[in-house]
């Protein structure tokens, strides 16, 4: 089987999410990559170094800048004449593009796979991860999104794949990119961090969120996450949200501070190796999944913890 993997990149840098998708693809067969964007020669070169990759297709065109699904999906659907499976990481980009490709190919997508059982059989979470389904696809081509935390990352170095330029059908004229607000942070990225400090509604305000959570995260070299309640209340930006509808994380240590542990939040972090919960309510559901729990007032505990570490 020949697979085509979507390469996630930003500002000339290949993103880690790609590497987990490569691992999933390698379980199906030969791995080819697609780098689409504008001035993406460097990304193509980085992609060619990923271990185990056979070929890198590079589609360099202004129409593919910003990954507009309307323009990129027909490009991918065309390349699928010569591939049997398309895989994209379950990032917002992957989730935006892959179903559009699937519909163009008349294929039912398999979303957010956790494992590859065989050429046509996969496991995936449903009901916010409260159930795991094993599904078998009868479509001749497969379109798949890959949960990053479920697969090891392929080695970013060691390969020497051939790079080939491809062209698509250009700008479909349906949509255009207007702008973005992207926060740049010195901290590690949420989805690849080894430690995450996450704050909930109990933080009470944006000022307190940053005054308590940030110093602890800095002490630990951790990424910062948040519950939906904290994001909705404006204590933290939307891209901090962990959960069923936010980011899925599985760090070595996840520290939930003033988070109750709603099923939608647990869906995003319950595969963390060690879960630490700090909550004043000893019956909070978060303690049912926590390895280490401390009952008490976060406004006392967190500053003390930060100081003593």
């Amino acid at each position: 089987m020949k697979t085509l993997v979507w390469v996630e990149h930003e500002e000339g840098q290949l993103k880690d999410a790609t590497l987990s998708a490569v691992t999933a693809a390698s379980k199906l067969g030969e791995v080819h990559l697609l780098v689409a964007g504008q001035n993406v020669g460097d990304v193509g070169a980085q992609a060619a170094k990923i271990a185990g990759v056979g070929k890198v297709h590079v589609a360099d065109d202004a129409a593919f800048a910003h990954g507009l699904a309307e323009n990129v999906a027909p490009l991918i659907a065309g390349l699928m004449d010569h591939h049997d499976a398309f895989l994209a990481p379950s990032t917002t980009t992957g989730k935006n593009i892959a179903p559009r490709v699937a519909a163009l190919l008349d294929v039912m997508q398999i979303s957010d796979i956790l494992s590859v059982e065989s050429d046509d059989t996969f496991t995936r979470p449903i009901y916010a991860g409260n159930a795991i389904a094993t599904v078998k696809s009868s479509d001749s081509k497969k379109v798949i999104t890959v949960r990053g935390t479920a697969f090891e990352k392929a080695a970013a170095e060691g390969g020497s794949a051939q790079v080939e330029a491809v062209s698509g059908t250009g700008d479909k004229g349906l949509s255009s990119f207007v702008g973005q607000e992207v926060a740049h942070s010195e901290r590690p990225e949420l989805t690849s961090a080894n430690i995450i400090v996450s704050g909930g509604r109990a933080l009470g305000s944006s000022e307190q969120f940053h005054a308590l959570i940030d110093p602890l995260a800095d002490k630990l070299g951790a990424a910062v996450g948040a519950s939906r309640a904290a994001v909705d209340a404006g204590y933290a930006p939307n891209d901090y949200q962990v959960g069923q509808t936010g980011k899925i994380v599985a760090p070595g240590i996840y520290i939930a501070i003033g988070i109750s542990g709603a099923i939608q939040h647990l869906a995003g972090m319950k595969d963390s190796k060690v879960i630490v919960a700090i909550n004043k309510d000893e019956d909070a559901p978060i303690f049912q999944v926590a390895d280490i729990g401390l009952v008490g007032d976060l406004f006392k505990i967190v500053p003390e913890l930060t100081e003593k570490l």
């Binding site: 930003e10 519909a103 078998k136 349906l174 949509s175 926060a183 430690i195 319950k270 303690f287 280490i292």
Partner: protein
């Protein structure tokens, strides 16, 4: 401008799903069902566009069992003008839902279809994007802001790095994210009024769409449970435990 809003009947988000002992699925007998939360947001957004004078009619659609009528009545009570139920007891996959919606779009000619980004039962996050492909329309997925002006719609999207804004020619597809708006509750008078609004009944055969599934579910199991942890009594004990993990120096 006409708006089409697909709404799905799903397990209520407050209910903890239980996997059936025989591994065939999740037990939905006697479980509270509601409108998919993202679809409530879609209905609300449609109503706001109508209240602003930017839309003239809102048509809610659901594909599902007879009971999905309740979901459509909720949409009507919130403020949708009429509803279409495509009735089937089968589990309809996103690809087939998108094909049915395509036919309905061809009949109804809406300028904007507003869907939820994800149904909280199958967690597929596919239908809107698939419909966009089938219709050849632009898509603004995971929307946290929607602004219609003239022949275009600007959609601010929640993406991994923050926010992104795209502009789409109309007609177009929008899928909602959680922070787009806060859905209203239907008032009692509106619930009464909704009972007399038009609810058309159709079947997948009426649209000539093959809804046979492409994925077969071989089994459904519970995820592995976490071991019960320990509670510590002080910050010092917490730090000791953290150090034992080897991750914290």
């Amino acid at each position: 401008m006409k708006l089409l809003v697909p709404v799905k009947r799903v397990i209520d988000y407050n209910v903890k799903p239980r996997v059936k002992a025989d591994g065939t699925g999740v037990d939905l007998a006697n479980v509270k069902m509601s409108m998919n939360p993202f679809d409530e947001i879609a209905v609300e957004e449609a109503i706001r566009l109508k209240e602003k004078g930017l839309a003239t009619e809102i048509v809610a659609v659901s594909i599902g069992p007879a009971k999905a009528q309740e979901t459509l009545r909720t949409a009507l009570a919130m403020g949708a003008d009429r509803a279409i139920l495509v009735q089937t007891d089968a589990d309809v996959e996103p690809l087939a839902v998108a094909k049915l919606l395509q036919k309905i779009v061809e009949e109804e000619q809406p300028q904007l279809v507003i869907l939820g980004k994800q149904a909280i039962d199958d967690d597929s996050n596919q239908t809107g994007q698939m419909l966009g492909a089938l219709l050849g329309w632009g898509q603004g997925t995971f929307a946290s802001k929607v602004e219609v002006d003239g022949q275009a719609v600007s959609v601010t999207r929640e993406v991994d790095g923050g926010l992104e804004t795209v502009k789409l020619n109309l007609p177009a597809i929008v899928t909602t994210d959680l922070r787009l708006n806060e859905p209203r509750y239907a008032s009692l008078p509106n619930i009464m009024k909704a009972k007399s609004k038009l609810l058309a009944q159709k079947t997948p055969e009426d649209y000539g769409v093959d809804i046979a599934p492409r994925l077969s579910i071989l089994k459904v199991v519970e995820p592995s449970k976490r071991q019960a942890g320990v509670k510590v009594g002080s910050v010092d004990e917490l730090i000791d435990k953290l150090r034992e993990t080897g991750v914290v120096g």
